[in-house]
């Protein structure tokens, strides 16, 4: 270990540590744009200037390794002046269009300007004009004028995805990020470039113009898009979830997440309209809605009711049946806690052999894209298999008609995009007298089964606490983010009610009413 002093504080670091890493280790602030812990050192933004005792020239912290006894500061007037001018060079050609920029509120330029701004601009010349709205690919838009050419996005496509779609073309202050005609940025990790863009140059088509970030809150969660279980940050407000961003976990996903995973929040919102096609052109819209109320359907008539009432009715029906009358169908989309509740209830009341595993695409489960996305698009297949083993359940893959059962209790998948064969599965249920479906979304195929159907609104993964066991067997616990559908229950709450507890007593609601009030206050103030 090497001893050094940073801003007067002693710190010990491993040999080979750069000064900027030592700053981070110590929790000392240091301005920087181009440095990113997961990318190669570019050393171009020239903001992480430090003064090293005995060296008359300022050095950049990202490309200088700590030496024994080094005394480093970024608090001297010399450094502050250099950063101030560094900021000014970044800003002289920047459009300063913060009022219409999605990055506002989480922008590196704004943040550093508050600390190092010259506040007295000396630039009196015409700015360099560049391209404003450049469609880089399916999910990312570029504003070249806002770009500070830190090259993070370019290094990301070179070093992480190795797809090389992006480049910096031309030179000097004419340089621009871009793609080559016909080779758009369309790899499955493209939105990470938006995350690592320190300014508003790269924005996500999905998120832009939808929310001001200061109206959003964030909470930690785990992506349920596949068996990797990337750690995510969920940005939400009282209206719903707005975006997911990767949360660093060295063991699981590093700094990244995939674009497929970015979309899983859409299953959580009450209505999610997926807009395809360019603005102004012909748009294709498809919308999926959450199931917000329990529905009982019999003889073609639908009746909407309180969840608690519906569950008590289901309980009454189940009480008439014995072993062999009831089947349970589950997917790898639920939490381990839900599996435990479901299987202990079911194996006690009915037959362990009558549990069926709905597998969406088992032939692809071994696939892996080399980065994060796995072929098993379920977050908790491992957890389910563990629960099967514990409860000595045979776990039959669901491929057969379940007509021989009087009642089928089906826990439907949350991420419908990963389950393309719903129509076929619904056909396997058309000979059943009663089907009880726990589902987060409205699934038309299951709503119109021939005989009696109960649809119970189920909580999405962001509305409950739980555990996902990822492909490698790593158990990841997560806390609820918020409640979107008040009427929804988790499978374990549902089971508790089947076991006779009052639903009102077990059902947890996670929206803090004060959050709503706060947000409303801000909205009102904003509209004055």
């Amino acid at each position: 270990m090497l001893k050094c002093t940073i801003n007067g504080k002693p710190v010990e670091v491993k040999p080979g540590t750069s000064i900027i890493q030592a700053f981070k280790q110590l929790g000392e602030e240091i301005a920087h744009y181009c440095w990113h812990p997961a990318l190669s050192v570019a050393g171009v933004c020239r903001l992480c200037m430090v003064e090293i005792e005995g060296n008359p020239r300022l050095q950049i912290a990202c490309n200088t390794t700590v030496a024994e006894g080094m005394v480093v500061t970024n608090q001297s007037e010399k450094v502050k002046d250099a950063v101030k001018w560094g900021m000014d060079f970044h800003l002289i050609n920047h459009p300063l269009d913060c009022p219409i920029c999605d990055q506002a509120g989480e922008c590196g330029l704004q943040d550093q300007y508050m600390k190092f701004g010259k506040y007295d601009p000396e630039m009196a010349e015409k700015k360099v004009n560049k391209r404003k709205v450049v469609d880089l690919g399916e999910r990312v838009v570029l504003d070249s004028e806002r770009c500070i050419l830190c090259s993070r996005c370019v290094r990301f496509t070179e070093e992480i995805t190795k797809t090389n779609e992006l480049g910096i073309f031309n030179r000097g202050d004419r340089s621009e990020i871009g793609t080559f005609e016909g080779k758009p940025l369309d790899n499955n990790y493209s939105v990470n470039t938006v995350d690592i863009c320190p300014v508003g140059a790269l924005t996500s088509k999905d998120f832009r113009f939808k929310q001001r970030v200061w109206f959003l809150k964030d909470k930690a969660s785990i992506c349920n898009g596949c068996s990797t279980g990337c750690n995510v940050e969920v940005d939400y407000n009282k209206e719903g979830i707005w975006r997911l961003r990767p949360r660093y976990n060295e063991q699981v996903n590093g700094y990244w997440m995939c674009d497929v995973g970015r979309d899983v929040y859409k299953n959580v919102n009450r209505v999610h309209t997926d807009v395809e096609g360019e603005r102004g052109e012909k748009q294709v819209k498809k919308s999926i809605s959450r199931l917000v109320q329990a529905v009982h359907r019999l003889n073609g008539q639908s009746e909407y009711m309180q969840t608690g009432f519906a569950v008590s009715k289901v309980r009454e029906t189940l009480s008439q049946y014995k072993k062999g009358d009831v089947a349970l169908v589950v997917t790898g989309q639920q939490t381990s806690e839900e599996y435990e509740a479901l299987l202990s209830y079911f194996t006690k009341s009915f037959a362990a052999d009558d549990v069926f595993h709905w597998q969406n695409n088992p032939e692809a489960w071994g696939e892996f894209d080399g980065l994060l996305l796995r072929g098993d698009r379920n977050p908790n297949t491992k957890g389910l298999i563990k629960a099967f083993e514990k409860h000595k359940v045979k776990s039959t893959a669901w491929t057969q008609d379940l007509g021989k059962y009087k009642l089928v209790l089906l826990v439907a998948p949350e991420n419908l995009a990963a389950y393309p064969n719903i129509r076929e599965k619904a056909d396997l249920l058309k000979n059943n007298k009663t089907v009880v479906v726990l589902t987060t979304s409205q699934i038309p195929e299951f709503a119109n089964l021939p005989d009696e159907t109960w649809q119970i609104p189920m909580k999405s993964f962001m509305e409950k606490a739980g555990t996902f066991v990822n492909f490698s067997g790593l158990e990841q616990k997560f806390a609820p983010v918020t409640t979107i559908v008040d009427a929804a229950v988790s499978a374990d709450e549902f089971v508790a009610a089947l076991n006779g507890q009052a639903l009102e007593q077990v059902q947890k609601i996670y929206t803090n009413p004060t959050e709503r009030v706060e947000n409303q206050f801000i909205f009102q103030r904003g509209s004055l």
Binding site: L166, N170, F180, E181
Partner: protein
């Protein structure tokens, strides 16, 4: 997209260059020269797409190199690309006036192609012939120790 393909000799050349240096990326510059030579003095996006395929190097990487160097022309140029040095020694010797005169006489702006497709006039930086200022480079050839009349005469003498 209009397609562009190197001649078979051109493709052979690229293949040889790919093996000539320690890395195949080093062949990008010589290959771009070749495309420029076979494409009337400039490189089109199709030329880059063609090289990308031929060399198995991503388009963005080739395009970065292409856009970085000034000797690769990004737009069509005339049959005679007249590059007039306007750096210190040459501009002291009157080359800026010379470019303006050329443009006026041929009714074009700088970097445009004359209507007869014969000329493009471009100001360039120092070409390392300052002792013979003023000077200009027409395609590959240096013309040094010019005067306005001498320069015009050279242009008139071009077929």
């Amino acid at each position: 997209m209009m397609s562009f393909q190197l001649s078979s000799e051109g493709q052979e050349f690229v293949k040889k260059e790919l093996k000539r240096y320690e890395t195949k990326e080093s062949a990008i510059i010589p290959s771009l020269y070749r495309v420029q030579k076979e494409n009337n003095g400039w490189v089109s996006p199709e030329g880059i797409a063609h090289l990308s395929q031929l060399m198995d190097i991503p388009e963005a990487r080739i395009n970065e190199v292409f856009q970085f160097y000034t000797m690769f022309n990004k737009e069509p140029v005339g049959k005679y690309h007249v590059q007039v040095c306007c750096n210190v020694a040459c501009s002291m010797a009157g080359t800026r006036e010379m470019v303006e005169e050329f443009c006026q006489e041929h009714g074009v702006h700088e970097n445009e192609v004359t209507s007869d497709k014969r000329f493009t006039f471009t100001r360039v930086e120092c070409l390392g012939a300052c002792d013979k200022a003023p000077m200009m480079q027409i395609n590959e050839d240096y013309h040094e120790g010019l005067t306005m009349d001498k320069a015009k005469q050279i242009l008139r003498g071009l077929k």
